[in-house]
């Protein structure tokens, strides 16, 4: 299960943020509804996808803090 978009630094699926990123999403739908599941946006590839996907650009979101410490 590890190394999927969910744990990637480029992936964001906060519903409030998504409704700002996708104008009009809240006019006839919602980022807080079941239909979205937990999909979000990958800022590296600029794609909208499910958090269970994976790719070669994966960077763990805690990598920075781990290397600093």
């Amino acid at each position: 299960m590890g190394n999927t978009c969910r744990d990637c630094i480029y992936f964001e699926n906060n519903p409030r943020w998504l409704e700002n990123e996708l104008p009009g999403l809240n006019a006839l739908s919602s980022a807080y509804g079941s239909a979205r599941g937990e999909a979000g946006i990958c800022s590296k590839l600029d794609i909208y996808l499910s958090p269970v996907k994976k790719c070669d650009f994966f960077e763990h979101r805690h990598a920075d803090s781990l290397s600093v410490s």
Binding site: L22, P23, G24, L28, S29, Y32, C55
Partner: protein
């Protein structure tokens, strides 16, 4: 907070998703109405207060002065339940509370305008007034963006749909559901394939984009578009363009279908089925169905046929569509990428859960109705139990219709290029024509008899 958002939500959706809160609120209202009904209390009846149809302004003032207290209590109850639930979901109450107060005041103004008899003559019922008022405010006066927090289109419409379940016999769902499913599937598959084909084969657009456009035009609008986009890994820009196209066409259809139907003098039942087959989103569809029902003075057949077609025929299959597209993307389109195979559990997680509340509400009222003769049902149950629920449903619908207008800012929508515009528009024509043929021409009488 961020850490928490990155873990799988799982069953936390029971308190983090609007769908579940719509169930809790809707079923809560129904239970309260049943308790009041059996105890002989008129409290829910009084809480469901609505401005009456009027021509004499003095009479309207009289109505408000004698019901001022009930409006106040009703407002306080809405405010409390919505603010508690939205707080748990994650909305800032410093934004939600003022926004909802504004929405409620606007809802009263909408009801007053929509109930003005001379205006009704021209077809401007409360749903259309709400939409126009909302669009005018958001596009001319520009409200601050934070106010969107209170304009929760989906939350209000889902609550309304759960309440709607209490007015729809479960036997009708069992009996007419399969026909609705068959009709909706024929139209959805045809529309989706038409858009996908035109987008990819004629205009050479990316197949993922074609899939998102097709789903947006064929299944349930923006919700389907984001479900399918997540499944096939669509570009963010493609999602934005699809949202824009769905929104613009959905708003056009809210006006087009009711006024075209009025021109053709159609019965509200087939029109409801037509709207259910051809509108792109639940909220927009309800606006169109309620508007036409109000125009012809017979709301229920339009709402019932619409609900069967849209909720039973289209919405509940969203998870399956999403899973199917994810499989196609994974097995056919991503052979050279490290895509992960979709899990069947996604069907459940993407299932529009509020539909469960709709079913439960329908079963509860059907069980209660079996204890009455047809005459007693019409004389006792309808006015004392069903009508108060319907009135409260009207409030949630108006909150929703106003919110559609208030959140639709045309200047903010992504500009669609000519190719996606025409691919989607071609699908709109396929959808509307097929929907009309099946709902009105071929199955018109079936729908009239099914939902009467």
């Amino acid at each position: 907070m961020e850490e928490e958002a990155k873990k799988p939500m799982g069953w936390k959706e029971l308190y983090l998703k609007e769908d579940w809160w719509a169930i809790y609120l809707g079923i809560g209202i129904i239970i309260a109405a049943i308790a009041a009904f059996y105890s002989g209390s008129t409290i829910i009846k009084s809480l469901g207060v609505l401005p009456p149809t009027w021509t004499d302004f003095g009479k309207l003032i009289e109505h408000f002065s004698s019901n001022f207290g009930w409006y106040g209590i009703q407002f306080a109850i809405w405010l409390i339940v919505f603010s508690i639930s939205t707080r748990i979901i994650g909305f800032k109450q410093s934004e939600y509370l003022p926004s909802f107060v504004f929405l409620y005041i606007l809802a009263i103004i909408t009801f007053i305008i929509g109930a003005y008899k001379p205006l009704k003559h021209y077809g401007f019922e409360a749903p259309l007034v709400a939409l126009l008022l909302g669009l005018l405010i958001s596009n001319v006066f520009r409200l601050p963006k934070w106010m969107d927090t209170g304009f929760r289109v989906e939350y209000y419409i889902k609550t309304g749909i759960v309440l709607l379940g209490a007015t729809l016999p479960f036997t009708l769902i069992i009996w007419a559901g399969p026909t609705a499913f068959l009709q909706a599937t024929i139209i959805s598959v045809s529309t989706c394939l038409a858009i996908f084909f035109i987008a990819t084969k004629v205009f050479g657009l990316d197949r993922r984009f074609g899939a998102v456009l097709g789903a947006g035009g064929a299944i349930c609008g923006v919700s389907a578009a984001i479900a399918i986009a997540g499944a096939v890994k669509a570009k963010k820009e493609h999602v934005s363009v699809t949202i824009a196209l769905v929104t613009v066409w959905a708003i056009v259809m809210i006006f087009f279908i009711p006024f075209a139907s009025k021109l053709l003098n159609l019965h509200p039942a087939p029109v409801g089925a037509w709207v259910g087959s051809s509108e792109f989103a639940d909220a927009a569809g309800f606006a169109a169905a309620v508007a036409y029902g109000s125009m012809v003075g017979n709301e229920e057949p339009a709402i019932r046929a619409f609900t069967l077609m849209k909720v039973i025929g289209r919405d509940i299959w969203l998870g399956i569509w999403s899973f199917a597209f994810a499989l196609i993307a994974c097995l056919k389109w991503e052979k050279d990428e490290s895509g992960t195979k979709p899990r069947p559990s996604e069907i459940w997680w993407r299932f529009p859960k509020f539909v469960l509340g709709f079913f439960v509400a329908s079963v509860i009222i059907t069980v209660i109705a079996t204890g009455y003769t047809m005459q007693d049902y019409d004389k006792i149950v309808k006015p004392d139990l069903i009508k108060p629920i319907k009135n409260l449903r009207s409030w949630t619908f108006i909150f929703c219709f106003l919110s559609i207008g208030l959140t639709t800012r045309f200047r903010e929508l992504a500009a669609a290029g000519k190719k996606p515009f025409w691919a989607f528009t071609f699908g709109v024509f396929v959808n509307v024509i097929l929907g009309f043929l099946l709902s009105v021409v071929i199955l018109g009488n079936y729908w009239i008899n099914a939902v009467k």
